[in-house]
Structure formats: C-alpha cells, structure tokens
C-alpha cells in the first residue's frame, strides 16, 4: 500500500508543479517523451545510489502557489560590464536581444530564439537526463524560459553574457531552460546567476544545455546565491567537440537545499574540460554536487577540483564520476575533492567513482575531509589576529584555489557572502 501512496504523492507533486508552471508559461517544445518518462521513472529515494545522501522527500509535500506580482529582481553585480538577460520564475523580465540573423550571433530568451530559429534551438534540447531522472523529466515536461546564447562558427562574443534567474518570495515553482551553443572555432564567456528572495520557499528545477563545437571555447561561471528556504535542482549538460575547451566554475554562495547534476561528455578527441566548484553550507543547509565526465574519445584531458566547508549541522555531498570509454586512450583525468568540517554535527559525504575501460590512461583522484589546522590557528592568533579573523583567513586560503579562478568581482562577491553568512566580517 505504501508504494501506491508514494506514487500518488509524487504524481500529485508533478501535477501541482506542472499546473503552476504551465499557468505562468512554458516553451513551445515537444514534451511527450519527457512526460512519458516522468510517469515511468521512480521518485528519487535514498535507496537509489545517486540519491543515497540526498533526501528529496521534503519536496513531496510542497504546496506550489501561483505567481504573484513580484517586483523586478535587483540587478546583480551592477558594475560588471556584461550583456544582461534577467528572468524571474521562468519568465523573461528584461534584457537587450542581440540578433545578427540566421547565420549570426543570438543572445536573448529561448522563447524568442524558438520563434525565430526553431531549427537552431531544437537540436540543443538534449534530453538524456530527462530519460533517467525524475526531476529532469519533470523539468523537460514543462520547460520555461531561460537564456539562449548562439555563437556561430568562428565568431566570438564581445562581452560576457550574464544570465540571471531570480526566484521571488512565496512557494513558487520555476523550471528555466538555458541553452548555449558555441559552434566550431567560436568563443564565449557566460555567467549563470541564480538567486532567490529571502522569503522564497519554492522549487527551482532548472536545466542548462551546452554544446561546445570543434576547436571552440567556452568559459562559464555559475553563481548560486539563494537566500530563503527554496530548493534547487540543477541539470547541467555539456557536450564537447574535438579540440574544444570548456571551463565551468560553480560557486554555491548560499543555498538552503541544493543538488547540482553536472555532466560533461567529451564527444571528440583532444577535448579539455576544467570544472571547479566550491560550497559552504551552514545552519541546516544541504549542498550536493554530483558530477560525471565521459571521456568518450582519445587524448582528452579533464581537471576537476571541488572544495568546500560544512559548518554547524549542515551537510555537503560530493560525488564525482569519471568514465573513460573503451578506446579512449591517452586520457588524462584528474579529480580532487577537499573538505573542511567546521562543526561537530556537520557532515560530509564524498565519493569518487572511476570507471576505466581503456588501458592507456592517466587518472588520479583524491579526497580529503578534515578540520581546521589548530596549529595554524594558534600561529595566526599569536601574531595578534582575532579568532574570527584567523578563521576567515584560513577559509579564504582553503577556498582560494577554486575562488581565484573566477573573475575578481565574482570571487570577492562570493567571499563576502561566505564571510557574512558565517559572521567573519
């Protein structure tokens, strides 16, 4: 009987979320396949390995309310010189659209890209997550508006594009869909910014699909800075062509409950992938970074580095899978996950997974979880630093390896959020 009850609960949640987001507006794309998957996929529970430490039961009872007339979100990083597009609750709010015609660059909302260039956009809607994961299927069943960046072959974006998605107060559901396509030999930089109001308690179930073509380059910085008590599930999917370079840096500045599923597929030889991330949950917060890279072709490289701290009663999860396919020879894949625990009741679950089917590869992984070096703390204090300042400096030093990779404005911003949240400033 319990199985029936559970299935009723998850179906009811799906209905509530889908009703709500459809009422607000969704993209005109085919969704039948995702809807079928949603019905057949199991709701994630701790019995599934991928969700072992990540409890999503709390979402089953989520009473989604419809949109209210929220004020426009505040501009983020106002001094940053970037091309900005702002979204709130899965709807386009404002931003200049760049449209250089069918063969040129496009920067604007997906909804408009779909109207003007359906064939360019449809092909980017990779749905591989949606066939496997309940929440990805939910998102793909009713995707909402997000940013669309199309860079044609050999072109380059002049300025970084800042895609800002905001969750307003209340128990809302949003399922934004961002798309980025950097065609052969193209180049671009983008910033994905997610934030939420202090009184937000809803569900942010969003997706990003990225294609980086042959010899193309993309640098992406993701900032998650969600106040309030909303839940965030991110489905981030990247495909790389041969000789392409992808860099993804993720800073979870603040999140009440967050799960990121990041997947990179090297779909050509000599691809280079760098993905770094940092996180610092405190209080009762929960942050989970699941990553997977597929080295499907020879001579690829990947450099993965995730660092974080868990304070108070918070929980952090890291799971990093490296899959080297058969015949993907001469791969170099490096993974590192380092953590500090700042509270006796804080928890950290870290798991590297290496599956290697080629025989000539160089792979390494390391994971450490520890506490503050008491000796270093005493050393700093013996020179006159307060305990707070000494902690601050040590945390800054610990996270520097990841944070220093961001542009300085973002690095400083994220550090300040950490410092404020943990009372270091």
């Amino acid at each position: 009987m319990s199985a029936v009850a559970t299935s009723t609960k998850e179906a009811a949640l799906a209905d509530r979320v889908l009703d709500s987001v459809r009422q607000q507006g969704t993209l005109s794309v085919p969704t039948a396949e995702a809807e079928a998957a949603l019905e057949s996929l199991p709701y994630p529970t701790s019995r599934l390995e991928r969700w072992k430490y990540t409890r999503v039961a709390h979402l089953l009872g989520l009473e989604v309310t419809s949109a209210n007339d929220a004020p426009s979100p505040e501009k983020v990083m106002p001094s940053l010189d970037a091309h900005r597009l702002t979204f709130s609750g899965g709807q386009f709010v404002e931003g200049d659209i760049v449209d250089e015609g069918p063969e040129g660059c496009f920067v604007g909302p997906v909804s408009i890209a779909l109207e003007r260039y359906p064939e360019r956009v449809q092909s980017l809607m990779d749905r591989s997550f949606a066939k496997k994961e309940w929440y990805a299927a939910l998102q793909a069943s009713a995707p909402q508006d997000g940013g669309c960046i199309l860079v044609p072959a050999g072109s380059q974006l002049e300025r970084p594009v800042l895609l800002h998605h905001h969750m307003a107060s209340g128990t809302m559901a949003a399922q934004p869909q961002h798309l980025i396509d950097i065609a052969k030999e193209g180049q671009g930089e983008a910033i994905l910014w997610y934030d939420a109001a202090q009184e937000a308690t809803g569900l942010m179930n969003g997706a990003l699909n990225v294609e980086v073509g042959d010899h193309a380059k993309l640098s992406l910085e993701i900032v998650q800075n969600e106040k309030g008590a909303s839940s965030h599930i991110g489905h981030l999917h990247f495909t790389q062509g041969h000789h392409s370079e992808l860099t993804v840096r993720t800073a979870t500045a603040c999140a009440h409950w967050l799960r990121n599923d990041l997947r990179i597929v090297q779909d050509g030889e000599h691809a280079v992938s760098t993905f770094h991330g940092c996180y610092l949950p405190n209080g009762q917060q929960f942050v989970d970074h699941h990553t997977r890279i597929d080295h499907a072709h020879p001579d690829g490289r990947s450099d993965e580095l995730y660092k974080g701290l868990a304070a108070d009663r918070a929980t952090a999860v890291f799971n990093g899978k490296i899959l080297v396919h058969k015949d993907a020879q001469r791969i170099e894949a490096y993974q590192s996950n380092a953590n500090l625990l700042l509270g006796e009741k804080a928890s950290m679950f870290s798991k590297p997974e290496l599956e290697i089917y080629a025989d000539d590869v160089r792979c390494s992984h390391g994971c450490t979880t520890g506490q503050f070096d008491a000796e270093a703390l005493f050393y700093l204090r013996s020179r006159g630093m307060t305990e707070t300042a000494a902690h601050n400096l040590l945390v800054q030093a610990f996270l520097a390896e990841v944070l220093d990779g961001f542009r300085p404005e973002i690095r400083d911003y994220v550090h300040n959020v950490y410092a404020q949240r943990l009372g270091w400033s």
Binding site: G384, T386, E387
Partner: protein
C-alpha cells in the same frame, strides 16, 4: 615586567611545570637552558597562550596584568611575541597579507589607526633587510617551502614588524647554520633596547655567544634550579647539567 610565581602546569595528565618562578625586568635578556623534557618549550607555549596546557597553580603577571586571563590574541596585543620552534606552514595565506592583517588587528585592538599602505611597506622593507629576508619569501605563502633557516629568519622578521615588549625565542637556533645564526642574532640584537625584554630558550651556549644574556637560568624537572650570569652558560657547556640537576632544588618561599 614579567613575574612568574610558583607556576604549575600540565598537559593531559602529565605535570610538566612544578613550581617555576622567574622575574624579568624591562630591557633584560634572560636565557633558559636545561636538559630535554625539562619544560622549556612548555613555558614558551604557556606564555604565548597555547590552550592545550592547563595551569593548575601559580601566577603570571605581565606589566601588572594577570596574563593567564588573556587569550593568545590578547597576549599579542599586550606585547608578547613567541618565535616558534617549529614555525607553521600555511598554504594559500601570503606572508605579507598575513602580517598586514596581524599588525592592523593589533593596532585596532589597541585603538590605534591602521598603518597606511606606504608606511607598512616601508616597515616591511626595513625589517626584511634586518634579517636579509628575500623579497620573494615575503610574498610567498606563510613559511610554505621555506628552509629551516628561512623559517627562523621569518620569525625574527615578524618580531621586528610587531615590535613586542617581550619576545620569547623558543630554540630559535635549532636547525640554523653559522651564517643563519649570525643573521638571526643580529636581528635580535638590533632590537634590544631598555624597554624590550627577551626570553631566549636554547640548548646550546653557541647562541648566547651572539645574543649575550643578562641572566642565565637552568630549568630542570619543571622548575628553575639554578640561576647565574652569562658565564653560567659557559660552565654548563663545559660541565653539562648533572652537577646542578642532582643538587636539591631551592625551597619555595
């Protein structure tokens, strides 16, 4: 300036200091020598405020203040500096940023204005010259990848920057070659004045050829068992500790 009276201290269940008494005046240099395990480094740690040690009896007064009521930060603010026997490596924290934070933190707690960037850099330059510290070392992470001698020079560099009233040098000579010993001693000697006191903890008389003390004490079994002038160091070098340690310790008043 510093008065230690009948100090008893332990770590976990081991009693290490057993009634140590010592008095130092302003501007004086005192050397503490003694066999291994006699409690020399424990004394240094307790003076700097290391929390693993528990003081069970006795008192420490510094400039009229009960030192035992101050934490490590407050002691630095009060003007105590410990040159570590094993300086700590702190990857990711630049030597210079750390010193700037430390210096301004002390000034803030003393209700003084922060040092301007220009004044700070001028001071860094002067102090680094004093111990012949390479510019590259100033900019690197704190002690990371430093040789033994560089670490000790960095300690004296920090001391010069922070200008303490009482500097405790915990086996600063260990691991130093002759040249480094000379440089470190020069740094210390040029900081001597009638307001600043030094407590020099060492195993070897060699250091005291360079930093000439006003008083030499022998610490054994957790208390001072013998005191004398600078010539005592030479005598110890010659005869070892047995002749002192075997005589009964003076009774506490």
């Amino acid at each position: 300036m510093l008065k230690i009276d009948n100090l008893h201290a332990r770590i976990d269940d081991t009693e290490i200091l057993k009634g140590l008494s010592l008095e130092m005046g302003a501007g004086e240099v005192h050397a503490i020598m003694g066999p291994n395990g006699s409690g020399k480094s424990t004394l240094a740690s307790i003076l700097a405020g290391r929390e693993e040690y528990e003081v069970t009896e006795g008192s420490i007064t510094f400039d009229g203040v009960n030192l035992l009521e101050l934490d490590a930060t407050e002691r630095a603010v009060a003007g105590i500096f410990l040159a570590f026997q094993y300086p700590v490596e702190i990857p990711g924290v630049s030597n210079i940023n750390f010193l700037r934070s430390a210096l301004n933190s002390i000034r803030e707690q003393r209700e003084e204005d922060p040092l301007s960037g220009k004044d700070f850099l001028a001071k860094v330059k002067a102090c680094a010259q004093l111990v012949e510290l390479d510019g590259k070392l100033r900019d690197r992470s704190v002690n990371e990848g430093f040789s033994g001698g560089e670490k000790k020079r960095n300690e004296i560099f920090q001391m010069a920057m922070l200008e303490p009233k009482l500097a405790v040098l915990d086996e600063t000579d260990s691991g130093l070659d002759i040249d480094a010993l000379r440089i470190v001693s020069h740094g210390v000697n040029s900081m001597r004045n009638d307001q600043r006191s030094f407590l020099v903890i060492t195993h070897y008389q060699r250091l005291l050829d360079h930093i000439v003390p006003d008083h030499v004490h022998v610490l054994a079994g957790g208390r001072i068992v013998h005191s004398g002038g600078k010539e005592l160091a030479l005598e110890l070098e010659d005869k070892g500790y047995d002749w002192i340690v075997d005589t009964p310790a003076p009774e506490q008043a």
